[in-house]
């Protein structure tokens, strides 16, 4: 029996895919994006969050059966409302075997994987195979920059993106717009170029930068140290995508 670590289960996450959804946040991520808005999802270990309403522990271990039982209590409702279960994080790929087992135990329901794409190919394949839809994050195409802002190389990510397309899966690419970092015309153009010709791509979601994320670091006892100017106006250049025939929305 596999077990995994979850840092939150949130219901009625209506912006995490079609219909009414419940999102499972897997704890642990190999990336360390400077703008990460779920810093409590980075470490695999449970940790204390000190918020306005007191302390709580983020991170709880579940067996696959426990989690699936919990989710199965409401899959009928989710299905009736055009929705399903979203696996997000942290990074689901880091607990791929666990997530796969949970999905296999779920009653019939729409499954969405929300991933950075940063994981081993066999793990990616394991979860993509079991997902009805994939939300795939793309941050920076330039390798050294990607390394600088996220702490890891994007080669694996780009390979998984093409693998996903080859698998014939429907997917949405989500780009977090970080002022002066990911929203540069150069990066957006690189993204457009990377995506052109990918037949499985449904559309691109641009996610405008959220300044509130910084506060969560304090609550998690972590330090938030962006080396970019948070207050800079975002470059919401949707035209670049539209010109290339790629459907784009600002979320």
């Amino acid at each position: 029996m596999t077990s995994g670590i979850i840092f939150d289960i949130k219901e009625f996450t209506i912006h995490d895919g079609p219909g009414i959804r419940t999102t499972v946040f897997l704890k642990g991520c190999s990336m360390s994006c400077m703008w990460c808005h779920n810093p409590e999802g980075q470490s695999r270990q449970p940790q204390v969050i000190r918020g306005l309403a007191g302390e709580r522990i983020a991170g709880k271990e579940y067996t696959a059966v426990e989690l699936a039982d919990l989710l199965n209590q409401q899959v009928d409702i989710l299905r009736a409302n055009e929705g399903g279960i979203t696996f997000s994080g942290g990074e689901p790929l880091m607990q791929a075997a666990f997530v796969a087992e949970v999905i296999d135990l779920l009653n019939d329901v729409h499954v969405l994987m929300d991933t950075s794409g940063y994981g081993q190919e066999q793990d990616f394949r394991l979860l993509a195979d079991r997902s009805d839809l994939v939300f795939f994050d793309l941050k920076l195409i330039d390798g050294p920059q990607h390394q600088h802002y996220t702490g890891c190389d994007n080669g694996l990510i780009l390979r998984n993106l093409h693998l996903l397309n080859k698998m014939g899966k429907a997917f949405v690419v989500r780009v977090p717009l970080v002022p002066g970092v990911t929203d540069t015309s150069q990066n957006l153009a690189d993204i457009v170029q990377t995506l052109s010709g990918l037949s499985g791509l449904l559309w691109v979601d641009l996610l405008p930068y959220n300044k509130a994320a910084g506060a969560k670091y304090r609550y998690a006892g972590m330090e938030f140290k962006p080396d970019y100017d948070e207050s800079r106006e975002l470059n919401l250049n949707t035209a670049l995508f539209e010109q290339a025939g790629i459907k784009v929305t600002v979320v």
């Binding site: 219901e11 209506i14 912006h15 419940t22 309403a53 409302n81 055009e82």
Partner: protein, 693 residues
């Protein structure tokens, strides 16, 4: 909204018309005493004198008139006489009949003269029955007074060259309304006089049913377009906000000026019509506090209507409140309401159900304090080394006793006569009987308050003392006694690791259901009150969630100190059906699933599941539709009532520090909406605390 309405709304919001008010209430005691009048005659005298003393106010751009100028309702007895009259009796709240709903269709379809004819005919038939004749004479006196007031308004309008208003008032409220405009004017005036009579929490009933025939025929005849009709409706809604600061209530805004829309017709067909949608649209566009909107839905209600309703929720007024016909109608039927009447139910004022024109029900005689029952049982039971079953037995005995006490008190209920209000009740004039002597339905409602905290406390005792022995009963008792001072680790265990209502968790939800079953058992046992009605158990908390935590003279039960769910002394309880404040829950679906377990065929007095949604959720058409689906899910799961709020925590916090910047910020409190900056601090804090998790 056009400029005329915007100006009108701003004037009302800023209270510019307050300067037109008279300084002091009129005085009528001398007249009452000189004539040695009976109680009904005194109330009739009150209504007549209030109508006579009203000054005519016709503002330049108004098309629906009446602005109240009298600041208060004078007493009809001296304090000494009043004390004598009420000795040994129970008065409900402030005394006068409140929290019921007239059948406004009687006014619109018969006119006041038609009602007067009914009264005179009955008087002719029952001429020898003194009490009957006295009541009917009193009712006729009030009808004449209102007609006099309308005539003065008509004359003044004519003098000012405001012929449209004069023409309308020449016809209504005396005669049956012929148009939507006349119906609105008639209702505005006659409703306002109910408030002037001292009655309060005056419900507006099934507005989209009794108003629709007038609107429909005007639209068909080309007298109105949808736009011009909306403008009239908007003006009517604005007019309901003119005098609301003069209405009595526990907190400003708690005035029960509620209308109910949607649902089914007495035949069981869908009652939704164009006016249903128009009410939602106009309320959304005005974003004004009155009237409060209640929408009756079922599992079959279409998503378009629910989406429109969600757009109203989005603006943050805390309504519409939803009631589920699939649950409410059969519950009423199984407790003695006829099917046709049950299908005609409305929300009386805040959340409890009644039948317009047919219910002289006291829908909220009080609340059973579940935390007090549970806390008492835990402290006494653990000291006596009870097993868990023994503790549960003490809980049910205590609930039984609380219901018994409340029922006893209300067996001595004294309702003042209301000859004017009776004009709009079915059978009152026909039988010559004041509504305070009873209508077709005369039940009482009792709510079970703060159930989530109580169930959480019981679950904690079950889990930590009887199941896994993680906490000793001695430690728990000492910790409760010490208000958890020096027991923080234990408190955290109770608060964080216990099973909590709102997570669809069988351990605690079973106890939640049990509390309400106990309440239903007690109500069935002590039902058939002295007035002949039943006791209807409900799930509302009204103001008790604050009173129970801080103490209040209106509360029979003691203040509950620290509780076994990890709550410290003085911390508020949760309102209505919602998880304990501070309890971490996964979200709205599990909440619905938890509360769906309550047996609403036995617990049928109303009381909403109360939820706050961040305003960021209401982002676009797609998210609005998902929220509409959620509302439909509430009905599909068989829950009874739902109140959704859209709120922004930062705004609330800012309003605490800078109230001057947020004077129009409206929030849902318990079964009603109020201006945040006009609420007492403990109510403000409770609302803020609801948002931290």
């Amino acid at each position: 909204m056009n400029e005329r309405l915007t100006t009108m709304m701003n004037r009302v919001r800023d209270g510019e018309h307050h300067s037109l008010r008279q300084d002091v209430p009129i005085e009528i005691l001398a007249e009452c005493e000189a004539g040695q009048l009976s109680w009904p005659k005194r109330v009739a005298c009150l209504v007549r004198r209030q109508c006579e003393a009203e000054r005519v106010i016709i503002e330049p751009d108004e098309r629906i008139v009446f602005t109240r100028t009298l600041p208060g309702v004078p007493p009809v007895y001296s304090p000494e006489e009043w004390a004598q009259l009420t000795a040994g009796r129970t008065l409900h709240e402030f005394g006068p009949v409140s929290n019921i709903c007239a059948d406004w269709n009687l006014l619109l379809s018969q006119g006041l003269l038609g009602r007067k004819q009914v009264a005179l005919a009955t008087r002719g038939r029952l001429v020898d029955e003194h009490k009957t004749v006295e009541f009917l004479n009193s009712a006729v006196e009030t009808i004449d007074a209102v007609l006099g007031l309308a005539a003065r308004y008509a004359d003044s309008a004519r003098e000012k060259g405001r012929d449209e208003i004069a023409d309308i008032l020449d016809h209504v409220p005396a005669y049956p309304s012929r148009t939507f405009h006349e119906a609105l004017q008639s209702l505005r005036l006659c409703l306002a006089v109910v408030w002037l009579s001292g009655n309060y929490h005056v419900g507006l009933g099934r507005f989209d049913q009794y108003m629709w025939p007038f609107l429909c025929s005007d639209l068909q005849a080309g007298l109105l377009t949808v736009d011009t009709a909306e403008e009239l409706l908007a003006e009517f809604f604005i007019s309901l906000n003119k005098d609301s600061d003069l209405y009595p209530g526990v907190q400003q805004g708690d005035n029960g000026q509620t209308l109910t829309i949607g649902g089914v017709t007495p035949n069981g067909d869908s009652a939704v019509n164009e006016l249903t949608r128009m009410v939602l649209r106009v309320s959304r566009d005005l974003a004004i506090i009155d009237p409060k909107i209640n929408l009756r839905i079922s599992a079959q209600t279409d998503l378009d209507l629910l989406s429109l309703a969600t757009e109203l929720t989005r603006i943050g007024l805390g309504f519409p409140q939803y009631s589920n016909d699939d649950v409410v109608v059969p519950a009423l039927v199984s407790h003695g309401y006829t099917l046709e009447d049950a299908r005609d139910y409305v929300v009386a004022a805040c959340r409890a159900f009644t039948i317009p024109g047919r219910g002289m029900e006291v829908v909220n005689i009080g609340a059973v304090s579940f935390p007090a029952s549970v806390d008492h049982a835990i402290r006494v039971g653990l000291t006596a080394q009870d097993d868990f079953e023994g503790i549960l037995k003490r809980v049910s005995e205590n609930i039984d006793d609380q219901v018994h006490q409340l029922g006893e008190a209300y067996s001595r209920l004294l309702l003042p006569p209301a000859p004017y209000y009776s004009v709009f009740m079915e059978g009152s004039l026909e039988q010559g009987r004041d509504l305070s002597d009873g209508l077709k339905y005369i039940n009482f409602g009792i709510h079970g308050a703060c159930a989530a905290n109580a169930a959480d406390a019981l679950a904690a005792v079950k889990q930590f003392i009887f199941d896994d022995f993680g906490i000793s009963s001695g430690d728990l008792l000492s910790a409760l006694e010490a208000n958890f001072d020096g027991y923080e680790a234990l408190r955290r265990k109770l608060a964080d690791e216990g099973s909590k209502v709102g997570n669809n968790d069988a351990v605690v939800d079973t106890l939640l259901v049990k509390l309400f079953d106990n309440l239903a058992d007690a109500c069935e046992k002590y039902g058939r009150t002295s007035r002949g009605g039943t006791l209807r158990p409900g799930t509302g908390s009204a103001m008790y969630y604050i009173w129970l935590a801080t103490g209040h003279p209106g509360m029979r039960e003691p203040v509950v100190a620290a509780t076994a769910d990890g709550r410290r002394r003085g911390e508020p309880f949760s309102a209505n059906l919602s998880p304990s404040l501070g309890a971490r829950v996964r979200g709205p679906i599990s909440m619905l699933q938890s509360f769906a377990k309550i047996d609403y065929q036995r617990i049928y007095n109303g009381g909403p599941i109360t939820m706050e949604l961040s305003d960021s959720i209401f982002r676009d058409t797609e998210s609005i539709r998902k929220i509409a689906m959620f509302v439909r899910t509430f009905a599909q799961l068989g829950c009874q009532q739902l109140q959704l709020n859209s709120l922004n925590l930062d705004t609330l916090l800012d309003a605490k520090t800078h109230p001057e910047k947020h004077k129009n910020l409206i929030v849902r409190v318990w079964g009603w909406s109020g201006y945040f900056c006009e609420l007492a601090p403990e109510y403000q804090e409770q609302i803020i605390a609801r948002h931290y998790f």
